[in-house]
């Protein structure tokens, strides 16, 4: 796993400034360490532990999905690249992998997980994209040069105010 902290501007297309970049092997066992690394980097710019929990969860869901779906047929531990940039109160996380594209080249929408009367019929999976949609501010996806490039933006990262607080 490679990780480095960038203090300088990446100046890609807007005011987003580099926070960190890393890559990991595309297998389940590498995800935990990657999350620890991401959280350590993010904690330098985000003091709100609930927000850090949210971002960690979204990164976990995204990486698990890439490993279990996009890279499922691959035997070579194809790498996943993560880069994180910041623009004021927003952070943007870009995930890049060389796996198969999303069905219809579109990421799944927010699943409606309603009240479940019959415990027996409760699904045992499929909650991942629901969580990503709930917690992220913005999600975009492009397929470039046989790579998936998924960008997830979070707001309220550097402010102290947390989600539980009602706008009054």
């Amino acid at each position: 796993m490679v990780a480095r902290n960038q203090g300088d501007k990446v100046g890609r297309d807007n005011a987003f400034v580099g926070v960190f970049e890393m890559s990991l092997a595309g297998r389940t066992q590498a995800v935990r360490d990657a999350l620890t690394t991401c959280r350590a980097h993010l904690s330098t710019i985000c003091r709100n532990s609930e927000k850090l929990d949210d971002i960690e969860l979204v990164i976990a869901e995204t990486l698990n999905n890439i490993v279990e779906h996009a890279l499922a047929e691959r035997q070579d531990d194809a790498p996943i690249q993560i880069s994180c940039t910041q623009d004021g109160d927003l952070i943007s996380l870009v995930f890049k992998d060389s796996g198969i594209p999303f069905a219809n080249h579109t990421p799944p929408g927010p699943k409606q997980v309603g009240t479940i009367a019959h415990a027996k019929s409760l699904p045992e999976g499929g909650y991942g994209w629901g969580l990503i949609h709930h917690l992220a501010h913005d999600i975009s996806y492009v397929r470039v040069n046989q790579h998936n490039v998924l960008t997830i933006v979070f707001d309220g990262v550097t402010s102290i105010t947390d989600n539980a607080q009602k706008p009054s």
């Binding site: 929990d53 969860l57 279990e68 009240t115 409760l122 999976g125 909650y127 969580l131």
Partner: protein
């Protein structure tokens, strides 16, 4: 995935000793809980007080456990830390499971 269990006449407490229930351990968790609850009484309390991270795979494993125990036995959850409690609420699992803030509150209510 380390678990410990204590069984009384009418209920069993299964304590998760690891601090993460994620994709890397979800399968193992499911199997270990299945084994440890094999002869469990009517109520199984899963003590999650050591757990600070759960992802959708971990959630799925808990749902699978609940379904496996049903209909003879009920699974209730106790000791949810704030980040774990949050995931249960976001996925509306708080309407599916009985959630107790501490193990002793669960024991008090169920004994």
């Amino acid at each position: 995935m380390r678990l410990s269990a204590e069984t009384e006449e009418l209920l069993q407490v299964v304590t998760v000793l690891d601090d993460r229930i994620d994709a890397a351990v979800a399968l193992e968790f499911k199997e270990n809980v299945r084994q440890i609850t094999e002869t469990a009484p009517a109520t199984v309390i899963l003590d999650l007080s050591a757990v600070v991270f759960i992802d959708s795979s971990g959630l799925g494993a808990i749902v699978a456990t609940m379904k496996h125990l049903a209909p003879q036995r009920t699974l209730v959850l106790a000791g949810l830390t704030a980040p774990v409690d949050r995931v249960f609420r976001l996925t509306r699992m708080d309407s599916v499971f009985s959630l107790y803030p501490t193990l002793s509150h669960a024991l008090e209510d169920l004994s």
